[in-house]
Symmetry: C2
Subunit: 111 residues, 2 copies
Amino acid sequence: MEAAIRAIAEPRRREILRLVWASELAAGEIARHFDVTRPAISQHLRVLKEAGLVSERRNGTRRLYRARPESIAQLRAYLESYWDENLRLLKQAAEQEEQRRARRDHRHESH
Amino acid sequence: MEAAIRAIAEPRRREILRLVWASELAAGEIARHFDVTRPAISQHLRVLKEAGLVSERRNGTRRLYRARPESIAQLRAYLESYWDENLRLLKQAAEQEEQRRARRDHRHESH
DNA sequence: CATATCCGTAAGTTGACACTTCCGTAAGTG
DNA sequence: CACTTACGGAAGTGTCAACTTACGGATATG
């Protein structure tokens, strides 16, 4: 999961992931979309693969990559839960603050 | 936005962000939650601040930090649109494939 | 004013990483 | 069997980032 977040943090890898999202592409086809050398893209693909975000399939001399929707969904769910958990903490803190304020006001009333 | 994603990619910064999410905390209080030195946390706080994810307020000798919900919401929305856009591409590709398949089948029928 | 507290900055180190060039390998092609 | 195509791996380079220690500045406190 940590690896997936780091992989996504790199803009170029987000673009690569977008390319292989809808259709399976060969490494060279992917590399042609960018202005860096093919080995550089190969390395990005390895990072994505080790993070589980893409799968690799060999066909003759070509290596075909495609996004792995399950892992991507997992990453997405992880981030969702991060936001949600924190929002929950925020609400909880706000409620406790409200309770403290209410008790304080109550004391003042009773004087 | 790019800065925000990079900031979030670091686990320690996600923890810091969680700490200052619900309540405003002083730099020292934040640092006490971790086993690295205070300057290290200061630097993380600067990264978060420059990414717009936290705000800083001075009170005497203390510097109080808190999360900035608007920027965080922006980051979240950006990631949401990334997933959604790609899913849209995936569906579109699937439909085009379906159309191609249908046309091919139709030709075979007519033979 | 002297001192302590709270904190960021500066400088240096180490490791990661995005990239390059060069090379090896495996599969098609004449 | 040469030769091309398609690719990843290895090695080197420059840069960045996360950390450390050392220091200085600003604010409360006696």
